[in-house]
Symmetry: C2
């Protein structure tokens, strides 16, 4: 499938380094043929992993590759964690014949467990040997409790864009809350790529809230090889938006234990920021998400969530629809609950909040809260 192939000038691999144990893919490599322009957005969590600090500090210069592991987040691991990032970058540099400064390092998995960089170093030759223009092995190697690999593509002014991502849990706003790698052959300046990526991430990954838990390792990295045509900022933004939205939707659909994708659509807000804040409040409500799991159009829980996020909200101007059925119309309960419940039986439905205050609007993605989510996260992992 075309979408699983990288644009010109990029190759990737995914191998088993033994971090997860057994033959599970846990080491990914994304390599540009030459120095690539790049942009990145990272978690703003104060407990950010050492690899996040490493990438952030390299945000201006060109890069040759990304070394990414799953099975260990290398977060909150202190000085040994910082040393592991440096050793990984050095090993990547040796493999690619570049300087360590040109290697980005990303990790995902449990927090607080020391990461042995030697296992990564030992597996890099195998990864180099299996580099290919196909993105799927990389997409598989970054999975944690994801149940399928996530790849999305787009074109932008004649250039191509391909992205891979992982999600599952600890998915909440304020930075990408997961890992995603986007590659393009577009010829674009680094500052434009960075600005366009930030713009697209804000409208896609940052409008995804699955469990309102923000990760220590969130990173979205975009590499542009310049092997393809020059594209203007508008085309680049549109292309990045398409890829990032595609990946964000796949992450929401594959949320840990989730069975339904919920699009929380907010209109009539004071401004876009207000719309996003109220959408996130609904997406963060355990009670609403449990009701979604049971197929119960419990719109009262939606109002309780937005009422706590905006204490000045005038309920007499607010309407709520679930699955297309209006259940609360400017202060009064209305509608047919059974109609909303029927719409909720689909794998995807929409909650629409109309605030009647202005022209701000936004859509936030979330999923249901299931018993399985609890079971998965109650397992002893440390």
């Amino acid at each position: 499938m075309a979408v699983t192939r990288w644009p010109e000038g990029l190759q990737s691999a995914g191998v088993a380094a033994g971090i997860k144990g057994g033959d599970a893919l846990d080491l990914g490599l994304l390599v540009a043929d030459g120095p690539a322009v790049w942009g990145g957005t990272f978690t703003t969590n104060a407990a950010a992993a050492a690899c996040v600090a490493w990438c952030r500090s390299r945000l201006s210069g060109p890069v040759r590759g990304v070394v990414v592991n799953s099975g260990n987040a290398n977060a909150c691991t202190g000085s040994s964690g910082r040393a592991a990032v440096e050793a990984t970058a050095e090993a990547g540099a040796t493999a690619l014949g570049c300087s360590a400064d040109e290697i980005l390092v990303c990790s995902t998995g449990p927090i607080g467990i020391p990461l042995d960089a030697r296992v990564i170093e030992a597996a890099l030759p195998a990864a180099m040997a299996s580099l290919s223009p196909d993105a799927s092995a990389l997409a598989r190697s970054i999975m944690t409790t994801d149940t399928y690999p996530k790849v999305a593509g787009a074109t932008a002014g004649g250039a191509r864009l391909t992205g891979v991502a992982k999600g599952a849990a600890m998915i909440a706003p304020n930075m990408a809350t997961m890992l995603a790698f986007v590659g393009t052959d577009a010829r674009v300046p680094a500052d434009e790529l960075q600005a366009s990526l930030g713009w697209a991430v804000e409208r896609t990954f940052n409008r995804l809230s699955l469990d309102a838990c923000e990760s220590t390792n969130d990173s979205v990295v975009a590499l542009a090889t310049g092997a393809g045509p020059e594209v203007d900022a508008n085309a680049l933004r549109a292309g990045l938006l398409e890829v990032c939205a595609g990946l964000a939707t796949k992450i929401a659909r594959d949320a840990e234990g989730a069975t339904k994708l919920v699009r929380v659509s907010v209109t009539g807000a004071r401004d876009e920021e207000h719309a996003v804040a109220l959408g996130r409040a609904v997406a963060a409500s355990d009670l609403w998400r449990a009701a979604v799991h049971g197929g119960d159009p419990n719109w009262g829980r939606v109002l309780a969530a937005v009422g706590s996020a905006d204490r000045n909200l005038d309920l007499d101007a607010v309407s709520v629809s679930v699955g297309g059925e209006i259940l609360f119309d400017r202060g009064e309960p209305v509608g047919v609950l059974a109609a909303a419940a029927a719409a909720m039986r689909d794998g995807e439905f929409r909650v629409e909040l109309v605030l009647g205050q202005g022209h701000g609007s936004a859509e936030v993605l979330t999923a249901d809260l299931s018993e399985e989510y609890v079971t998965l996260n109650a397992e002893v992992t440390t």
Copy 2:
């Protein structure tokens, strides 16, 4: 038992009005022999129920009684909900021979379902007939998914205080997030009672976060009959703090589906507000609460939660203990996970966060997130 008895001048009752159906107690009555001084703190949720608006608007004058129902929150019910509150107050006034302005009305239960005040009016004579100094029937009548009635008592400068509360779910900070009624025979001015109640609620109920979902009906009401001794503000605060803390702890222990009480203790914060904010962030983490359910001392999830709540936190100054075992010491992972896991097997344990920034401290109560919580809240209730 003495603690289940109201102080001099107060009586209560709990009867089955048929709101829940069957013979479940769902209508409570708290009556003062004469006009009582009162104070109240209420949800700040913009989707606050009509009964909350009613009580808030009566905050200065004396009251004779409180009519409270469970089984229906009468929230987001529009004009019919407002009419139901007025009809309930009128019915209470007729029963007690006072004006409707002297009757407080509280409700708890599902949101968005019309409440028929006629069933309350019809059951009030039975409630009047069963009034007694024992608080337990009232405590039972306000239960929703609570598994036991919650009563606590204290003395203050020779005066007595008794309180009842209900909790279970939709329990989060910013107002009491539940219903509680405290009665005392103390002779105190209304403004002092109001100020002291606010002070105590801030330090008890407002430091309870079970599912981070804030209710539309939270109300804490304190009645002072003045039949007992005059007490000064310090004694009153100490007494209210004791009663409210006792009720808050009972609510945390009886959280929906929960098996463990978790005390999140934060010290070394910039100030008390900072300590409360970080304690609440830990209490709001679904991932940490699921780990607690599984008995997993996953301290990384604690750090991820505080790192998202304070983006400038310096991890190299932070320490985390679970059940008395230090697992993260100023930037480095340390300690024995098995020791922490053993302490977590108890029905109650402490997470200690030391921030190394100042002298602010606070304790926030929470509980584990279980599969049962999801199952309970996925049931179709609307």
